[in-house]
């Protein structure tokens, strides 16, 4: 199909973008890797597209004290290659490397992916695991939303009408080791399940762990039972396996053509174990 007719605007500042989004049937275009297919299938029918592509303020990664600030329109490819991201938030780079294919990574953006709030998207779980926060701009000015509060439901971010995501603030994490473990049917496909794992060790035992799951519910889910079981545990396969057994607790995965809910729960346990073992520097058993 081809999209229905739609108006297009291409503001050069965030303020202009917010103004354009005053139209209640407007939709932000932030790379278009999800929105354009939806327009083509006529699953979305906005009357106005507000393309953020020309707003240079929204691109790039900078250091701000103990945080990284990543512009919402920074492409996946730029995130992947950014030295600050690789130094202070390698988990984000690890997950971004698994997003779709090279072409998509050069068009798609971090902010676009997060604001789309697809439970099968890889990056929502990562920002939850990293305890990032979202800076949004709207008619009433700017505010920050914690990643844990940003994902409300399927494809529903905590953005008020007229608000636009402008940047992601990621705490710099030194002394943490991380891994994103993704399981998909096709190399370029969505995650059936993904696990974002960040672990801080202290003298061989795990002092702190943050685990978030992709596609195990309508939003990214923290595996809190696993996190508490890991706290104080040693990083042995046995201990990790025992902790990972709780990965699916409290989750509500959906069942679809690619995987049943039961299989997703099973994968969550297996992949959580693998993600943690990989994060602590040991190859998984399989």
């Amino acid at each position: 199909m081809i999209p229905a007719a739609v108006d297009y605007s291409c503001p050069s500042t965030v303020e202009e973008a917010v103004q354009a989004l005053g139209d209640e049937d407007a939709k932000v275009l932030a790379g278009g890797q999800s929105l354009i297919p939806m327009l083509r299938l006529r699953l979305a029918a906005p009357t106005l597209l507000v393309d953020l592509d020309r707003i240079s303020d929204l691109r790039g990664v900078r250091s701000d004290g103990d945080h990284l600030v990543i512009g919402a329109m920074t492409t996946h490819a730029a995130v992947l290659g950014d030295p600050l991201v690789n130094q202070y938030a390698p988990l984000l780079a690890q997950a971004t490397a698994t997003v779709a294919d090279r072409q998509v990574r050069h068009r798609g953006t971090l902010g676009g992916s997060l604001a789309h709030a697809d439970p099968a998207g890889d990056l929502p779980a990562v920002v939850v695991a990293l305890d990032a926060s979202m800076e949004v701009a709207g008619p009433g000015g700017r505010r920050e939303i914690a990643a844990a509060d940003f994902f409300v439901d399927y494809f529903t971010p905590a953005l008020e009408p007229g608000e636009v995501l402008v940047s992601v603030r990621v705490p710099k994490r030194e002394g943490w080791s991380t891994h994103y473990e993704k399981f998909n049917r096709m190399a370029q496909g969505w995650a059936l399940v993904g696990v974002a794992a960040a672990v801080r060790r202290d003298n061989g035992t795990i002092a702190e762990a943050r685990i978030a799951l992709t596609n195990m519910g309508s939003t990214p889910v923290r595996a809190t039972a696993v996190e508490s079981a890991l706290t104080g545990a040693d990083a042995s396969l046995e201990a990790v396996r025992a902790a990972a057994a709780a990965a699916a607790e409290g989750t509500q995965p959906s069942g679809d053509l690619s995987a049943s809910a039961e299989y997703r729960s099973h994968l969550a346990r297996v992949l959580t174990e693998r993600a943690i073992m990989a994060a602590v520097g040991q190859a998984h058993a399989a």
Partner: protein, 786 residues
């Protein structure tokens, strides 16, 4: 004749334009005043159409006309089925636009013609259709029960036909009942061929121009000649008033071996309006409404002795026709009937196939058409036999296959295999795979309880391709012949135009045909131009499918070359002032036998003919030649494919570790093209084993309607393929070639699934339905129903 080109791995001359897209695809055709057509498709699987109102669409911007099936019921005709496999086959009407009833999701219901594609698509929303639901028929077995709901109410049955082959009745073997009576081993299995979507890269597209002296139809089709003939028949348009052009066409795999509803709808619209009309489908429409492939239930029963000797085979198929019969829908499973006995020489065989209507889009040819299904079933059950009698799967095959010194061999299915050396291909494949080492590694992994288990899959195959001897097609009630044609036009400067009746859509005919002609006529490769796919230049031909183009068309081409040489000879003799009988032709030169100097080239003769100033008396000034070749047998490539898989038993993920394909396709014209065909074929067969499935829900909605859900693998999902060949020239073929277009697809699916099941036998697994997704493998591992 000096052979320099044949056998050379030339890069394809057509690739630069095909790969860059700088060429004429049907969608690139732009004509003055051309209008665009959009199709409203049924959102429901089975319903009466109680009302269609297209009037509001007429008020939409840019709209020229809108109409429904009812508006054109008298003129649109019924789509043809060229293969009524039995005399009493139930063959329902197949209107291009539904008139009173829709029978599958995606069936065309109404159209809008507008000044732009966008305007036409937008206006579809203004068409109002009322549907009155009818019961949906999806399950093949339920469809055949006494009180089943019906796809075609007026037919009183969902059974289209039952077609039987019995070796005792045919005189090609013994009675299968006797073979099973008292057999030491009887193995019975049910296999499912899931429904597949051909998923060619270039969506189907058609432009119909009614403004000239002829109706010109551009179409992304595999079959321009057959399309011309059938459009003429179906619409009552005199054949000479129809010209069909298949410009460059991007893929087909059987999916463009069809006379489509969309082609006829565009024809009807263009005729009504007197203006050129274009229709290009979207990917979603293509996945939903272009014909699908496979979709069969196979009940297979094998009788054998304890020593592994097979005694007989019974096959009972239910084949899903979909809602209608496409061009060769009923014949696809019948093509498989002759292949279930595969490379084996057992003495008794019975095959029974019932075609069943359901409320799904019609099935039809898909790469291999019948033969992959047959090969899958026999190669899967041969592995079961190996396990049952305690033999290595290679050994059980050795004990049953036709030996190299037994050719020609008449099979229990009545075909005469011309040549082959199954042992040579298998030995080579075993060595390339490192079979014994992998078996040792498999044992070690089993021993240690490794979470990653190893499996080795075997698939030995032959196939009947090179469609086909016309008499055989006639005896199977197919509506056309199987000959092929080639013409050579000698230009005055010695350059050569070749017109082929085949219709390449990625196969590389321009290159391979040029190589053959270069060798035969002694002209440079670059001095040959191959023309195809336009009935104005190539009025005759039977197009490209069934691995037939080189196997059949190659002989026509060879014969046409010989005719050109024969015509040139008296002219060369005249110029050289010698007796034609004293001349020999080699390297493009006529020379007096024994005298290496002072010859005349074919180009000299072409110029002499052009001038015609000094020709022998009574000689027609013409070197051009046509040849039509009708084969007297099929082509029988064969080979052995071996696949090693690793299975992550924790997740069920299957990874192909090594894949070896040793194929015997006879003499090879261009090894690069052959390798490409094998690679692509294997990829498509692996895709059936591991990835692809068209899925309908209980209401007949296609769930796998985009590439997110119809999981077509990419290069990243596949593996390196080790290819090699044995070469048994096809006897009776002057070039010694056999078909190669489908071999990879036919061989690879059972190789992969056999490998998976081989890995998991210690877990009690003996089958996993295709595609073997991680979840299905995981469930099988855990004793669940996959």
């Amino acid at each position: 004749m000096t052979i320099t080109e044949v056998g050379s791995p030339r890069r394809r001359k057509e690739d630069a334009r095909l790969i860059t897209g700088r060429t004429m695809w049907t969608e690139n055709v732009v004509l003055p005043g051309m209008l665009h057509l959009a199709i409203l498709r049924s959102p429901v699987a089975h319903a009466k159409i109680t009302r269609v109102d297209t009037s509001a669409a007429l008020n939409e911007p840019g709209v020229v006309t809108a109409f429904s099936g009812r508006d054109v019921a008298d003129v649109q005709g019924s789509l043809p089925c060229a293969w009524p496999v039995t005399e009493d086959m139930v063959h329902p009407d197949h209107p291009p636009l539904a008139v009173d009833e829709v029978r599958h999701v995606g069936e065309p219901v109404a159209v809008v013609v507008a000044r732009s594609r966008a305007a036409a698509l937008d206006a579809l929303a203004a068409i109002d259709v009322d549907y009155e639901s009818l019961p949906v028929v999806l399950d093949l077995e339920a469809a055949l029960t006494e009180d089943a709901d019906l796809v075609h109410l007026d037919k009183g049955t969902n059974r289209s036909y039952t077609w039987i082959f019995d070796s005792a009745e045919a005189g090609s073997g013994g009675a299968v009942g006797a073979a099973f009576d008292g057999a030491e081993v009887v193995i019975k299995r049910r296999y499912r061929q899931q429904r597949l979507i051909p998923a060619f890269m270039e969506p189907r597209s058609v432009v119909v121009d009614p403004t000239g002296d002829q109706y010109t139809i551009w179409s992304a089709t595999q079959i321009p000649h057959i399309l011309r003939f059938l459009v003429s028949v179906v619409t009552g348009t005199p054949e000479h008033k129809v010209r069909v052009v298949a410009p460059d066409v991007g893929g087909g795999f059987g999916g463009k071996l069809q006379v489509t509803p969309e082609e006829l709808i565009a024809f009807v619209a263009a005729k009504r309006l007197g203006k050129p009309v274009k229709y290009t489908e979207s990917r979603s429409d293509s996945l939903m409404a272009a014909h699908h492939g496979r979709d069969m239930i196979q009940d297979v029963e094998l009788a054998a002795r304890r020593d592994g000797t097979v005694l007989g085979l019974r096959v009972k198929l239910l084949a899903n026709m979909g809602a209608y019969l496409g061009l060769v829908t009923p014949g696809v499973p019948i093509l498989g009937a002759f292949m279930y006995n595969a490379i084996y020489k057992f003495p008794a065989y019975r095959f029974e196939c019932t075609g069943v209507f359901t409320n799904t889009v019609f099935t039809d040819a898909y790469r291999g058409a019948g033969r992959p299904e047959a090969t899958y079933a026999i190669e899967r059950i041969m592995d079961e036999l190996a396990v049952e009698v305690g033999l290595d799967p290679i050994e059980v095959r050795r004990r049953n296959w036709i030996n190299a010194d037994e050719f020609p061999f008449t099979t229990v299915a009545g075909l005469t295999y011309d040549s082959g050396d199954y042992s040579a291909a298998t030995d080579k494949a075993l060595e390339l795979l490192g079979y014994d080492d992998l078996r040792r590694e498999q044992a070690a992994r089993r021993e240690s309880g490794d979470p990653v288990q190893l499996g080795i899959g075997v698939s030995t195959y032959t196939e009947m391709c090179g469609l086909a001897p016309s008499r055989v097609l006639g005896s199977l009630r197919y509506g056309a012949g199987g000959w092929e044609t080639a013409s050579i036009r000698m230009l005055p400067t010695g350059k050569v135009e070749v017109i082929t009746g085949t219709s390449p859509h990625g196969q590389g005919h321009e290159t391979a045909w040029s190589q053959i002609v270069a060798d035969q006529l002694g002209v440079a490769f670059d001095d040959v131009e191959v023309l195809h796919g336009d009935t104005r230049t190539s009025h005759k031909g039977l197009d490209t499918y069934g691995s037939r183009s080189l196997a059949v068309g190659g002989i026509a081409l060879y014969n046409a070359c010989q005719k050109v040489i024969d015509k040139a000879k008296p002219i060369a003799a005249h110029v050289l002032e010698c007796d034609p009988a004293d001349l020999e032709f080699a390297g493009g030169q006529f020379r007096v036998r024994g005298n290496p100097d002072g010859g005349k080239s074919l180009a000299d003769c072409a110029l002499a003919v052009f001038a015609a100033h000094d020709l022998p008396d009574g000689i027609e000034p013409n070197l051009d030649a046509d040849a039509v070749y009708d084969p007297d047998n099929f082509s029988y490539p064969h080979g052995t494919h071996l696949c090693a898989v690793e299975i992550d038993t924790q997740t069920g993920r299957v990874s192909i570790r090594r894949y070896v394909a040793v194929d015997d396709v006879g003499r090879v014209i261009n090894p690069l093209i052959v390798e490409g065909q094998v690679h692509g074929g294997v990829a498509q067969g692996v895709a059936q084993a591991l990835f692809e499935e068209a899925v309908y829900d209980d209401d007949g909605n296609l769930l796998s309607g985009t590439f997110v859900d119809y999981t077509l693998p990419s290069a990243a999902d596949l593996t390196d393929i080790v290819t090699d060949r044995t070469e048994t020239p096809a006897p009776g073929h002057p070039l010694g070639t056999k078909g190669v277009g489908e071999a990879g697809t036919i061989a690879s699916t059972p190789a992969v699934v056999n490998a998976i099941v081989d890995a998991l036998r210690p877990y009690g697994v003996r089958d996993i339905p295709m595609p073997c997704t991680p979840e299905r493998v995981w469930r099988a591992l855990n004793g669940g129903v996959a």
